[in-house]
Amino acid sequence: MKKANVKNYKSDQEVRWCAGCGDFAVLNAVYKAMAEMNIPTEDIAVVSGIGCSSRFPYYMGTYGFHGIHGRASAISSGVKVANPKLSVWQITGDGDALAIGGNHFIHVIRRNIDMNLILFNNQIYGLTKGQYSPTSKMGAKTKSSPFGTVEQPFNPGELVIGARGKFFARVVDANIKMCTEIFKEAEKHKGLSAVEVLQNCVIFNEGIYNFINDKKEKSDRQIFLKDNQAMIFGKNKDKGLMMDGFKLKVVEIGKNGITEDDILIHDAQENDTVLHNALINMHPPEFPIAMGVIRAVKEQHYDDLVEKQIKEVQEKTSIRNMDDLLNSGSVWEVK
């Protein structure tokens, strides 16, 4: 199948983010992923909450719903369950998904509804001009924390797994290629695919990801995980991850007798969460930050189970319409 033209996926509305905002790159990656997978525009529904990132649907040439703050997961759940043949993309921010929308977020994950949840994590409330969010680092000074926050942040991947998530991936806005590839993986995965995008807000949180994005150092500071491949990283592909008791450690291949064979092989499909959690929790400088698909476990998904249950019941019942129902059970005639 020939891949579709990227511009099919664009709407005629002007894109209104600040110049330099990471959101632009993600938008482009979404266009590309959809085009490369050739999903018909009419079969796509893009649903969001409120936030800078949540303006996303207006820029799509697909069906789109710009919801209310925090409710993207709930609205998109309704869309998918009502109309399961749609490819549903949920666009949300760290405030939208993890502050006001935290409940719907953990529940859509628990239910494993088949959609792609793209979480723009800029560690700030952008749209309301710079208050801290549930992912802002402890001590962050923002408009609403002039003396620094006193709250530990969520790690979105950890919360996804805590809510029984089956798919979690992490990408960085600047890397459109990586984003495109991972969005395609997310779309292919049946069930809820949560993708955390490390997104730069040039206005209120400029540079928070510079450390891991640094052009020269990023191959040492990021590890791009691929299913079934060894967990190797570094400029010279000479670093890797190994087990150390119940923990992970970074080792250098070729030193202390360590060879490539000693390095852990990534198994995204493993249902057990232990290793995935450990990977998600890796933080620089001690560890590289894990990018790519960290977890992708096949599991039945809610929308499909609903369809099946309805089918099963309907196969057995004699009640086929409302008249049947009205006349079932205890009915009597008055003559």
Binding site: E42, F65, R71, G78, A82, K85, V313, Q314, L326, E333
Partner: protein, 615 residues
């Protein structure tokens, strides 16, 4: 030894079954009313759960009741006061003492009237009837527990299980008292306990024993007969308000050729609607038990966007939580039905009790100028029709519709002539045409609705959302004048629903001295009060509202014909204020009650008579 029995023919009787939560009074009441309905009497029932949680056995807090009113005439309420009270223990007697008619009959299980139970029920003495000033009632002390045990001796059942049939022994007594047939209940046992024939048998035996006991003992020197009511011909079934609501929603979706999607969170007294819809997988209903009320409505909005008929159901506190999202449905102009089963507020309030205090919330409980249609059902069975109406209006006018019922309607039940689906008006969703350029906020001339373009349809791709939209194109717009245009169009669209609903009718005298005004679930009581007053020779009329926003077009014309208007509602005067604000030139009196209970016909008549007499 056969005795002479007088059979007295009655027009109408109120029975209240009461006992501990575990005594099976709800089942007993349902059995009696089913039998009564099946033999053609008219019935109205009202279960009365004490509080949400089981209180310790034997206490007043733990009493569960089931009241029913049946008769050979049209029955519109479950009755104010009981002709017959069944009290399975002292607590039940105490809890219901005030609801027994002068000259009424009280049947007790005398085996439970002992010291221990008097204490649990917090009687001060061991003379419960004196303490409650009920000595003059017709008291029948039947050793029901003992006789049930005797009857079922030798069945090889545990005492606990044997005592479960106490209620059927009691039912037998009542069947005898009113000359009702046993076979319908016996068939019910057989069906229900198909896999437990011993239980079916035990229930049957207890029922017959009670019946025979009543026919034998001296205590009941006569029995009564209630003739069948002369009701319209056709097929009937019993239905409660909540089930009728659920079915009306399914019917609405079916006649609109839409899939029904319900997103809801359980809450008393609305939960049964969700439960019934969850069970209706046979009809393809998609029921989504959400994590909370907000998710409930938001999934329903998503479903409507995706081309289903989205519905959400709740009660007061849940409606408060849904306010913000109702606004989203208002501005996105999607069809959505919100059912609110009112209960006692504010806050958690009296969660199992009935009230009409969510009217203002339904009208105004969200930010901005946010008009949504508000309608109300009036009887358990017409919950079906108003749920259907809610679907019709939501779909054809592309608007959220709030349907108000209440705890009284929700749990109450009555016989209902089964409608045919073909007799209901077809519902026509205003789908956008394929092939034409789709402009999401282009309005149709008559109703001002926008058109509905369902995801999955090629060529109709579009975006909607909560920000103000440019008229016609639907693009985000901050243009000041456009906001005014859109605000007015949204208001006008809802206003025009008045062209698609029936006019307001008057019951009673066109030249009445007093117009009684009501809305929603008080209909039965108001109508009964009206009829009784008219029998007493008073000139009165009733205007009862189902359509609240917008009001029927002829409302002012109707109201302004009457000199005196009294608005009776179960709150502190919300509909009265609403009418004042719509028609300030008229004068409105009020009769309000806010006790978690329905009106009684007696208090209504008393108050209306006072108003009639006043200068």
């Amino acid at each position: 030894m056969s005795k002479k029995i007088d059979t007295i023919v009655l027009e109408e009787v109120v029975i209240k079954f009461s006992g501990d939560s575990g005594d099976g009074m709800q089942l007993t009441g349902t059995q009696f009313s089913n039998t009564s309905a099946l033999i053609g009497q008219d019935v109205s029932t009202f279960p009365d759960y004490p509080a949400e949680i089981r209180a310790p056995q034997g206490t007043v807090g733990g009493v569960s009741g089931f009241q029913l009113n049946f008769g050979s005439k049209a029955i519109k309420t479950p009755g104010d006061f009981a002709d017959v009270l069944v009290a399975m223990n002292p607590a039940a007697l105490k809890a219901n003492a005030r609801w027994i008619k002068e000259g009424g009959t009280i049947i007790i299980d005398s085996d439970t009237f002992n010291k221990k139970n008097f204490k649990k029920a917090e009687f001060k003495s061991e003379k419960p009837f004196e303490e409650l000033k009920l000595e003059d009632r017709n008291i029948i002390q039947a050793p029901i527990s003992f006789l049930t045990k005797e009857t079922l001796k030798g069945m090889g059942m545990t005492t606990k299980n044997v005592l479960r049939s106490k209620n059927m022994f009691t039912l037998g007594i009542i069947y005898w008292l009113f000359n009702e047939p046993l076979d319908l209940s016996i068939n019910f046992f057989k069906k229900k306990f198909k896999k437990l024939p011993k239980v079916a048998k035990a229930n049957e035996m207890a029922l017959r024993a009670g019946f025979n006991y009543a026919g034998t003992v001296e205590a009941l020197p006569r029995n009564y007969k209630v003739a069948p009511a002369s009701i319209e011909k056709g097929f009937y079934r019993n239905v409660s308000g909540n089930v009728a609501t659920a079915w009306g929603l399914i019917a609405g979706a079916e006649r609109a050729d839409l899939n029904l999607f319900i997103g809801s969170y359980p809450i008393t007294p609305a939960t049964e609607i969700l439960q019934e819809l969850t069970a209706r997988k046979d009809l393809g209903v998609k029921a989504f038990q959400a994590e909370d009320e907000i998710a409930g409505i938001c999934t329903a909005i998503g479903a409507s966007f995706a081309g289903n008929l989205g519905v959400t159901t709740t009660s007061g506190p849940g409606l408060a939580l849904k306010g913000e999202a109702i606004g989203l449905a208002v501005i996105t102009e999607l069809p959505l039905v919100i059912v609110n089963v009112q209960r006692g507020g504010p806050s958690t309030g009296l969660p199992t009790k009935t009230e009409q205090s969510d009217l203002m919330q339904a009208l105004y409980g969200r930010n901005g100028e946010s008009p949504a249609v508000v309608i109300a059902a009036t009887t358990p069975s017409d919950c079906f029709y108003y749920a259907y109406e809610a679907c019709r209006i939501a779909v054809e006018h592309m608007t959220p519709v709030i349907l108000l019922t209440d705890g009284f309607l929700a749990n109450g039940a009555e016989p209902w002539r089964i409608p045919k689906m073909d007799d209901l008006p077809k519902i026509k969703p205003p789908f956008a045409k394929i092939g034409e350029k789709y402009l999401p906020y282009k309005r149709e001339l008559e109703k001002l609705n926008r058109k509905w373009a369902v995801p999955g349809t090629k060529g109709l791709e579009h975006r909607i959302g909560g920000l103000e939209k440019m008229e016609i194109t639907g693009n985000v717009s901050y243009v000041p004048e456009n906001h005014e245009v859109m605000s007015k169009q949204r208001a006008e669209k809802v206003k025009r629903v008045e062209n698609f609903i029936p006019e307001l009718k008057i019951y009673g005298d066109e030249d009445a001295h007093l117009l009684i005004v009501g809305w929603g679930g008080t209909y039965g009581h108001l109508l009964t009060a009206l009829n009784e007053m008219r029998k007493d020779g008073k000139k009165v009329a009733l205007a009862h509202f189902n359509y609240i926003f917008p009001l029927p077009k002829n409302t002012f014309d109707v109201l302004s014909k009457f000199k005196k208007i009294v608005i009776a509602e179960l709150n502190l005067g919300q509909f009265a204020n609403y009418l004042r604000m719509n028609f300030p030139s008229l004068e409105y009196l009020q009769y309000n009650k806010i006790q978690g209970l329905p009106f009684t016909v007696v208090e209504l008549k008393e108050n209306f008579n006072k108003i009639l007499e006043a200068k």
